[in-house]
């Protein structure tokens, strides 16, 4: 049995205006929860889009669960990897349960209705992320935090082994950020779902992920535990600002404090 969820070998990708990823090697084991960090434009989203097969042309190999994504049909990829994108919207008129149901698309047969199992999975995932009571509500009427949970439920309804998230906590208040990350941690532990999430907030990434991958200019510059990746030198050079790193007073995980440049403190 294959134990590798994602394996990338020397992956290079460029849009028409220049290279975005350079010689990326990345190996994620099944059941891992990995945070992808790095400044804007470092290539986090591109990496996620490559792994999910949205971007096709590239150099190097990407394997999901031992299979080369280039040989797979979209339907097959959608049974391997689910994605929570950075931006998500549906036209007005969609109920929450109808949005979550769309997660069962990879299992649909043209003339058949959703099976009893499809309905069970949808119910279970809605309850698992705590949106069961919103089932009949209109998606467009929900708050940002509720919406993000609906999108997460839809992705989970795909029943994949791998979940990719592109800044799942952006635009949420701190309580919803923590709620989403607690949910992810819980699903990762209970179901062994492999998670790769691009994260903006370094301190939350440090608190919730055992492994962080730091991207800068399209290359992996650090990969390891938060203690190894979140250092003054690494973060300072990746984000080009002076920072101070100190352990969290209660939990001990590294926390990044920003030093406003030219404030006379350094």
């Amino acid at each position: 049995m294959n134990t590798t969820a994602i394996e990338m070998n020397q992956v290079t990708f460029s849009y028409s205006n220049g290279a975005v990823l350079r010689n990326v090697d990345l190996c994620v084991q099944k059941g891992e929860m990995v945070g992808l960090i790095g400044p804007n434009g470092a290539g986090k989203t591109t990496l996620i889009r490559l792994i999910s097969g949205i971007l096709g042309t590239r150099q190097g190999d990407i394997q999901l669960d031992g299979m080369d994504t280039r040989g797979l049909k979209r339907r097959a990829i959608a049974r391997e990897v689910a994605v929570v994108p950075q931006q998500f919207d549906v036209p007005s008129g969609y109920k929450v349960e109808e949005v979550v149901m769309l997660g069962r698309t990879p299992f649909m047969k043209p003339w058949r209705d959703f099976s009893g199992r499809d309905r069970d999975v949808v119910l279970d995932t809605m309850n698992a992320v705590g949106i069961g009571r919103l089932a009949a509500r209109c998606f467009t009427e929900l708050s940002g935090g509720e919406r993000q949970k609906v999108v997460l439920a839809m992705a989970l309804a795909q029943e994949t082994g791998l979940l990719l998230l592109d800044e799942p906590t952006a635009h949420l208040d701190i309580s919803h950020q923590v709620e989403i990350l607690e949910l992810l941690t819980d699903i990762n532990r209970r179901k062994g779902l492999t998670i790769l999430a691009a994260m903006h907030d370094l301190n939350l990434a440090s608190a919730y992920f055992q492994r962080l991958v730091l991207l800068k200019g399209g290359a992996v510059v650090a990969d390891g535990s938060p203690q190894r990746v979140l250092t003054t030198a690494m973060i300072g050079s990746a984000y080009s600002i002076p920072v101070h790193i100190q352990p969290h007073p209660l939990t001990g995980v590294p926390q990044v404090l920003v030093l406003p440049p030219g404030d006379g403190h350094n």
Binding site: S52, G53, I54, K73, R74, R75, A76, I77, A78, R79, A82, V83, P85, F88, D89, V90, P91, S92, G93, Y94, K95, E97, E98, L102, G103, T105, P106, M108, P110, W111, D113, R119, V122, L123, M126, N127, G132, R133, A135, A136, T140, M154, A155, Q158
Partner: protein
């Protein structure tokens, strides 16, 4: 634990709509310049369809009028309405735009130019029992869609915005060309009435020949649209979102565009340019039935058929002996309905 909302039974809704369509069609067959009673129409149908016959109590001519003139026209109207409404569902779902209609990517302008050119040709030319007007309208509609699709292509993708822009520009150019041809040709200047009635829309079906060609195209088109409706549902997530849940986006887009264009072209070839059916019918049903295309596709097809059967009946009977262009009636009925929906469900359109 919360249960999923119980859905309305799709089959019940479809059967009810079909019954309504049959009722509309029977009524439309009975009404016309020569009045035939409702029960006589049913008896004529029955005599034709079964071995047991009612005794003939109606004038002999009635049977010919019903079976050879009115019924093919009513069925033609139903096919046009069904084709336009289905194309409307496809384009609205694909482009995620409730305002999209079957003409949005240039079909109408292409069809109109094709029809105009056909009117310049000798009258004797024909193809599969059709005059050249429907044939060239069909060809013009399809050719325009492929031109727009080709122009809008960026690399291996066809972004929706560039398709709408290309459709708008190509339409504007073809419309200008059409009016240039009309103005410069003495022949067309005299035949302005034919051009006018094509542009305003009107069911032109004489006998069963055209129905036999258009019928299978429209029915197969609707069935294919229903078959792939679950993929159309995924397009609600946007193109990248649809890909995430396992839809081959570029392939599906090509299939849906081709399907919608063929349906529109088939409708245009015997109905001219009839607006509002493809816009209002799917739109109204979406508000009532919800966004699931597996239900919307068949329901829009049937309701669109019934709508146009009624509109065509009114077109024939409101102001005899003159026929009102059916496109005028669909606009006069459709626009107020649309405005009503817009006012009533206004908040759902606000972003």
């Amino acid at each position: 634990m919360v249960a999923l909302t119980r859905r309305r039974r799709p089959i019940t809704i479809i059967v009810l709509l079909l019954l309504a369509l049959v009722a509309c069609a029977t009524m439309a067959t009975a009404l016309g310049a020569v009045s035939v009673s409702f029960s006589d129409v049913l008896k004529i149908f029955w005599n034709k369809a079964s071995p047991f016959n009612f005794s003939t109590t109606w004038p002999h001519g009635s049977e010919t009028i019903i079976l050879q003139l009115r019924l093919p026209r009513v069925i033609g109207a139903a096919l046009v309405g069904a084709g336009l409404a289905t194309a409307g569902v496809l384009f609205q779902g694909l482009l995620r735009n409730p305002m999209a209609d079957p003409y949005i990517i240039g079909t109408s302008a292409g069809a109109a130019l094709g029809a105009t050119i056909a009117m310049l040709l000798p009258l004797s030319m024909a193809f599969l029992g059709f005059g050249m007007v429907p044939v060239l309208a069909f060809a013009g509609a399809l050719a325009t869609v492929f031109l727009v699709y080709y122009l809008a292509r960026v690399g291996s993708k066809t972004p929706v915005v560039s398709m709408l822009l290309a459709g708008f520009v190509v339409s504007a150019m073809l419309t200008a060309l059409m009016f240039l041809v009309i103005t410069m040709s003495d022949k067309l200047y005299d035949k302005f009435h034919s051009v006018y009635s094509f542009l305003m829309g009107g069911i032109s079906v004489a006998g069963w020949g055209q129905v036999a060609v258009i019928g299978p195209i429209v029915v197969v088109g609707i069935l294919l649209a229903r078959l792939w409706a679950f993929r159309l549902n995924a397009f609600a997530l946007g193109e990248e979102g649809a890909a995430h849940v396992g839809v081959d986006v570029e392939q599906s887009k090509t299939v849906f565009l081709a399907l919608g264009s063929v349906l529109t072209a088939a409708a245009v070839s015997i109905g001219g340019l009839i607006g509002f059916v493809g816009l209002v019918v799917p739109h109204a049903l979406r508000l009532v039935l919800g966004p699931d295309h597996r239900l919307l596709v068949p329901c829009s097809a049937i309701a669109g058929g019934a709508f146009l059967v009624i509109a065509d009946m009114l077109a024939r009977t409101v102001h005899p002996p003159r026929e009102i262009p059916v496109g005028i009636l669909t606009a006069l009925i459709g626009a107020p309905v649309f405005i009503y929906l817009l006012r009533r469900h206004g908040k759902e359109y606000a972003l």
